[in-house]
């Protein structure tokens, strides 16, 4: 595999409601910031790839309008995934592996405030048997939380600790939306949304955008003295039929761990795309991350921009490696109900 590095990452402050700012107006600042930080322009980028969801905007081909935020003259090579931008990063990685590009700009954007996120997300389900029932994202997550609690894989105390810690960690993330601290009584007195999940177990409705630049070994040092290397990347998906899945584990995640040779890596830090409080202790145990700092940024519980939060987990891992004495970082991105589709990214800082 060709060596590829992350050379830059920028995140828009996460907003509860971006109001009159449209998607293009959210994307431009992060792309410009990235270019300014690195002293480069779109001309230095071989491939541009974005991640977004037209249903969030409620307009067909809305992602094409998103391109208005990017300099497209002279013409550029670009692509889009109707997924979290973590997968736009994956596509860019492939493009570099194939020798079609040496550098790539990735951006993700999403406004959840204009629509009904519960209804919108239910449309990603199987269109024949599940979507017509309009199952909302919190209830689906609650199904998995219930399975995990009933099988003693996680405890209610771990969920509580996850919520308290996410808010405490939000101080590490200048772009976090939720920054107020809570204690046990705040948590226990919060109304259930979908048992066993209360409001605080769920991520906030968020608007925002993020951008990242990756580059081949040849180019990376032209952009920065401190590239963070993508040592491994793998993504796999569980069945789309919820009834045929074992929600208490994830065979596909285990397969990804084997693919990335997890046994032989000692991770120092991890950022997981865990949107609901039960998902963090579950993945920590599945991925053997009990003894290291996880979600130092606060994670999705303090700001969860749809189609961005996965890329943000990669970006926050990149930042953690760059700013601390860590060597190995793990980033996780997810998509679909109950952690259906997962990506693992092994990042390494060369000291």
């Amino acid at each position: 595999m060709k060596k590829v590095a992350i050379v830059g990452y920028a995140q828009h402050p996460i907003l509860k409601n971006a109001g009159a700012l449209n998607e293009v107006e959210l994307i431009m600042p992060v792309v410009h910031q990235l270019f300014n930080d690195l002293g480069i322009s779109q001309k230095d980028i071989d491939f541009t790839c974005s991640g977004s969801c037209d249903y969030l905007q409620g307009a067909a081909f809305a992602f094409v309008e998103g391109l208005s935020a990017i300099q497209t003259h002279p013409p550029i090579k670009e692509s889009h995934v109707e997924m979290d931008a973590a997968w736009a990063m994956y596509e860019s990685m492939l493009k570099i592996q194939m020798g079609d590009a040496e550098t790539a700009l990735i951006y993700g954007f999403g406004k959840s405030s204009p629509g009904d996120l519960d209804a919108i997300i239910s449309l990603q389900m199987d269109p024949y048997y599940i979507s017509p029932l309009w199952p909302d994202r919190v209830s689906l997550a609650a199904l998995q939380a219930r399975v995990l609690l009933d099988q003693n894989i996680i405890t209610p105390e771990q969920m509580l600790a996850t919520v308290i810690e996410a808010r405490a960690n939000s101080k590490n993330n200048k772009n976090a939306l939720i920054t107020d601290l809570i204690d046990e009584s705040n948590y226990l007195n919060n109304a259930m949304v979908s048992s066993p999940l209360n409001q605080l177990d769920c991520p906030p409705i968020s608007d925002g955008s993020s951008a990242m630049i990756i580059a081949s070994e040849e180019k990376a040092y032209e952009f920065t003295d401190h590239p963070i290397w993508i040592e491994g990347i793998d993504h796999r998906i569980e069945s789309s039929n919820l009834g045929s899945r074992n929600l208490a584990t994830s065979k596909t995640l285990q397969a990804s761990m084997n693919q990335l040779n997890f046994k032989n890596i000692k991770f120092d830090v991890a950022e997981l795309h865990t949107q609901f409080s039960h998902e963090l202790p579950f993945l920590k145990s599945l991925l053997n991350l009990q003894d290291i700092p996880v979600n130092l940024s606060g994670g999705p519980l303090v700001g969860n921009v749809m189609m961005c939060a996965g890329l943000d987990a990669i970006g926050k891992t990149y930042e953690a490696l760059k700013e601390n004495q860590f060597t190995h970082g793990l980033a996780h991105a997810t998509s679909g109900p109950c952690l259906q589709h997962n990506m693992l990214v092994h990042l390494e800082a060369q000291k």
Binding site: A20, E25, S68, P114, G115
Partner: protein, 166 residues
């Protein structure tokens, strides 16, 4: 075969989603001016192209169009089509003409109606001007302009309107 056993090759699954749509801050500035009867485009600080209606960015350069450019309501027909098919709910009776309107001083065209002229006389390059609704009906919409109508000025060669990089 009972009705339950009849194979079904499709199922209906109606979807209705509601959104609180926002135009964007640049378009909002434009619409606030339209409410007052003014057409104010926005120019790209890099390539100087003038956009009307502005969408917030110059898609050539990928930067915000933060220079306000007051425009006239006069221009020419860059392209047009005669609509013969009635659209349900549309109060306009076919045949009628939809045209791409290029306002003087702008670098893109937008869609609007052409009226007060025989269809056969409408041509590319024809000079036209906005016909506004009464002031008391003005809202945040280009529908404040009822339609565009021809004015007595020589035709424009639209080939000369192509964007020239400065």
């Amino acid at each position: 075969m009972s009705s339950e056993d009849t194979p079904k090759d499709y199922s209906e699954s109606p979807i209705n989603l509601e959104y609180f749509y926002t135009a964007g801050s640049a378009t909002t500035r434009f619409l606030n001016q339209v409410k007052e009867g003014n057409i104010v485009g926005q120019a790209c600080p890099k390539c100087k192209a003038v956009y009307v209606p502005p969408r917030g960015s110059c898609p050539r350069c990928g930067v915000a169009t933060d220079i306000e450019v007051p425009l006239t309501d006069k221009g020419c027909i860059e392209s047009f089509t005669v609509v013969h098919i009635p659209i349900p709910g549309n109060p306009i009776v076919p045949p009628y003409v939809c045209a791409m309107i290029r306002l003087d001083g702008s670098n893109i065209s937008f869609l609007h109606l052409i009226q007060e002229v025989e269809i056969e006389e409408i041509r590319i390059g024809m000079r036209i001007q906005a016909v506004w609704k009464p002031k008391e009906e003005w809202t945040h919409s280009l529908e404040n302009i009822k339609w565009f109508a021809p004015i007595d000025e020589p035709d424009v060669d639209v080939a000369t309107l192509r964007f020239q990089e400065s």
